[in-house]
């Protein structure tokens, strides 16, 4: 299974007459760091939404670790081991940084309503573990000094990192990052590249990355899939992609002969 940890086969969705994503296939191995690129409106985020259950695909199959997840609810897909971040950051703004992380941690340590209301010993232990795990993650992401701050008051870069940390808190097998570098300056982008490599190594998971910034994608990804108008126009290693005429055409327009 490790060759196809995340296995996407021929997934399609249409909104009315608009074929947003057609026959999208992808095989992400364990420990892989793959990229998904394409011009604006190519269907990258729609593809992510199909994988994470925000949309239900019209055709095709998605499986994680051999378990089918297409057509399931987003919460079930998260439990199956697929975590994501969002293009426009979606933190729980009114809640504290710690609570944002703890919400991710508690997915694997859920207790029932009776245990919660009666404060059983099992509940207390689970709550303590959630807190410890959250504190470890915050330390790892250098956010421990902002534990009690409201998430909405964090600076932009910290919000990005908090969102990634929250996704990691669910202990995923596959992490989907939707334009993590959006709105960052060059230094921050370099730091982000290092962070992404660090995450893959220390959490032993597979990462699928949507990105506009070519330097970042070419720099970290081992394998790239290019989408245009909802269809895959090229797949391959960064060097192959860089020289692919179809990709150049999609990004720069048709070559003049």
């Amino acid at each position: 299974m490790s060759e196809r940890l995340l296995d996407v086969r021929e997934v399609s969705i249409a909104f009315g007459g608009l074929k947003a994503v057609q026959n999208f296939s992808l095989a992400l191995p364990a420990g892989g760091l793959y990229g998904l690129i394409g011009p604006n409106g190519a269907g990258k985020t729609t593809a992510f939404n199909l994988l994470t259950g925000v949309y239900c695909p019209d055709h095709g199959a998605v499986s994680v670790n051999g378990h089918r997840i297409d057509g399931r609810k987003p919460s079930q897909i998260a439990a199956a081991g697929l975590a994501r971040t969002f293009q426009n950051i979606r933190l729980f703004g009114e809640l504290s940084v710690l609570d944002n992380i703890r919400l991710g941690c508690q997915l694997r340590r859920r207790k029932g309503i009776w245990a919660t209301l009666l404060r059983t010993s099992g509940y207390v232990a689970a709550e303590r573990q959630v807190r410890q795990q959250a504190e470890r993650l915050l330390e790892l992401f250098n956010l421990q000094s902002r534990v009690n701050e409201q998430a909405k008051n964090l600076p932009y870069g910290d919000q990005r990192r908090l969102e990634i940390a929250r996704a990691l808190a669910t202990q995923p097998k596959v992490l989907l990052l939707d334009e993590p570098a959006a709105g960052m300056n060059p230094q921050e982008k370099i730091a982000l590249m290092n962070l992404i490599r660090f995450i893959r190594e220390s959490f032993s998971l597979a990462i699928l990355l949507i990105e506009h910034d070519m330097r970042l994608v070419m720099g970290v990804c081992e394998h790239i899939t290019v989408l245009d108008h909802g269809e895959i126009i090229a797949t391959g290693t960064p060097t192959e992609i860089r020289t692919n005429p179809k990709v150049i055409e999609a990004y720069l327009g048709e070559a003049q002969n």
Partner: protein, 421 residues
């Protein structure tokens, strides 16, 4: 751990035996109404405040619970004792000095069974209504819950006449069938009045403990995340619809319990009085207290229950009003010595109150005629002054210095520092 239960029993017992005899029958009724309002407002906070769903049909659940409890106690009393008289022990006696019987009797058991059945019926209704409608959001959900409240009212007002001993069918009909004789538009009356300060405030204690424990847990955090951002909450594994339906059931259960207590204060309940206006009253308490603040909702519930009564014959501030204001001012000066706002508010409230009384006396106006106008004006002024409600999303003890919060050192919800919302 069962210490909240113990605390609830101690406080309720103290209020029942020490406070209730001092304040007299009218005062005790008011105290019970305050308690019932607290249960209603705090339970609605779970739906409207924590989960962020705008429900305005809470009185419908209260009505269901109240009628169920009243009917079970009324007809059950007939089947058990052959009459509709009071058969309670000391804890159920309003003037406890008159009763030297046992603490707990069959009548009390009947009353508790009635209230719990009412709560369960309301919770079941919450599940049935919630399952299809909680996929809706915002205004749409509000309309559905409003409709639910009206449906409950219309159905109850269409039930057959209440039966009494003169009606031979009361002895023949099977018990479940008896329970449908709810008196229609006339309302249901004559149920023995078991509600006392003890029972109501015991229920308040249990409700507050349950809701605060819910808020300070993973479970409550998941509900807050639904309020903040449903898509993000789903992406980290919070089952959105399930969470919403469960909060609905949870809140409906306590609304039903409050309804049962409410019905047995005098032994009368009328669905017409528990229409959407009552629902709005509860929503106002929640919003005034601050959406998501349990203590805020409880304080707003007490304020809004007492205010119309105080305005019947506004008492002077001297001496107790001023003593209270001085204590409050002391707290404000001590906790937030640099802030002027709260002090100015306090002084202007006191001045406004006396000014109102002075004008009324000079012009010979009977203030009780205008009490609902003043009540409404108060709401408007408070909402303009504090649009986020009394305490915003925080609790009253979050304003205490951190070193004081001995229970909060390792709390499940970490209270965000920085500027309050």
């Amino acid at each position: 751990m069962a210490w909240p239960l113990l605390l609830a029993i101690i406080i309720a017992t103290a209020m029942h035996f020490l406070l209730a005899p001092i304040i007299g029958g009218f005062g005790a009724n008011l105290l019970m109404n305050c308690g019932i309002a607290i249960i209603l407002a705090t339970s609605l906070t779970v739906v409207n405040g924590f989960t962020g769903q705008f429900s305005i049909g809470h009185a419908g659940f209260m009505s269901l619970g109240g009628y169920t409890a009243a009917a079970i106690v009324y007809y059950g009393s007939y089947r058990l004792f052959g009459d509709f008289n009071f058969h309670g022990g000391v804890l159920s006696t309003k003037t406890f000095l008159a009763n030297h019987g046992s603490m707990f009797t069959k009548g009390d058991a009947l009353f508790i069974a009635g209230c719990l059945s009412g709560a369960i019926v309301a919770a079941a209704a919450g599940w049935i209504v919630g399952l299809p409608s909680l996929r809706l959001r915002g205004d749409y959900l509000a309309i559905v819950t409003l409709g639910f409240g009206e449906i409950v009212r219309v159905i109850i007002q269409g039930t057959p006449d209440q039966l009494d001993t003169t009606d031979p069918s009361i002895a023949i009909l099977p018990f479940p069938k008896l329970l449908t004789h709810l008196g229609g538009a006339l309302g249901f009356s004559g149920a023995p009045a078991y509600s006392t300060v003890f029972w109501v405030w015991f229920a308040v204690g249990i409700t507050l403990a349950a809701i605060l424990r819910l808020k300070q847990s993973s479970y409550g955090r998941a509900l807050l995340s639904v309020r903040e951002d449903e898509i993000a909450a789903a992406s980290i594994g919070v089952p959105i619809t399930k969470a919403k339906v469960r909060t609905f059931v949870f809140a409906a259960f306590f609304a039903g319990l409050a309804g049962g207590m409410y019905a047995m204060v005098v032994g009368t309940i009328n669905a017409g009085e528990l229409a959407f206006q009552k629902s709005f009253e509860i929503v106002i308490m929640v919003v005034l207290g601050g959406l998501g603040s349990v203590s805020g909702a409880a304080i707003a519930a007490v304020m809004l229950t007492l205010l119309p009564e105080l305005l019947r014959d506004p008492p002077g501030l001297w001496p107790w009003g001023l003593v209270g204001a001085a204590i409050l001012a002391g707290f404000i000066l001590w906790l937030a010595p640099r802030k002027r706002g709260p002090l100015i508010t306090l002084v202007s409230v006191c001045a406004g109150w006396e000014l109102m009384r002075w004008i009324a006396r000079r012009e010979g106006i009977d203030l009780s005629d205008y009490r609902m106008v003043i009540y409404a004006l108060t709401l408007i002024v408070v909402m303009i002054a504090r649009p986020q409600g009394l305490f915003g999303v925080r609790e009253i003890w979050d304003y205490l210095p951190r070193s004081w919060q001995f229970w909060n050192r390792k709390s499940a919800i970490s209270v965000p520092t920085g500027a309050p919302a």
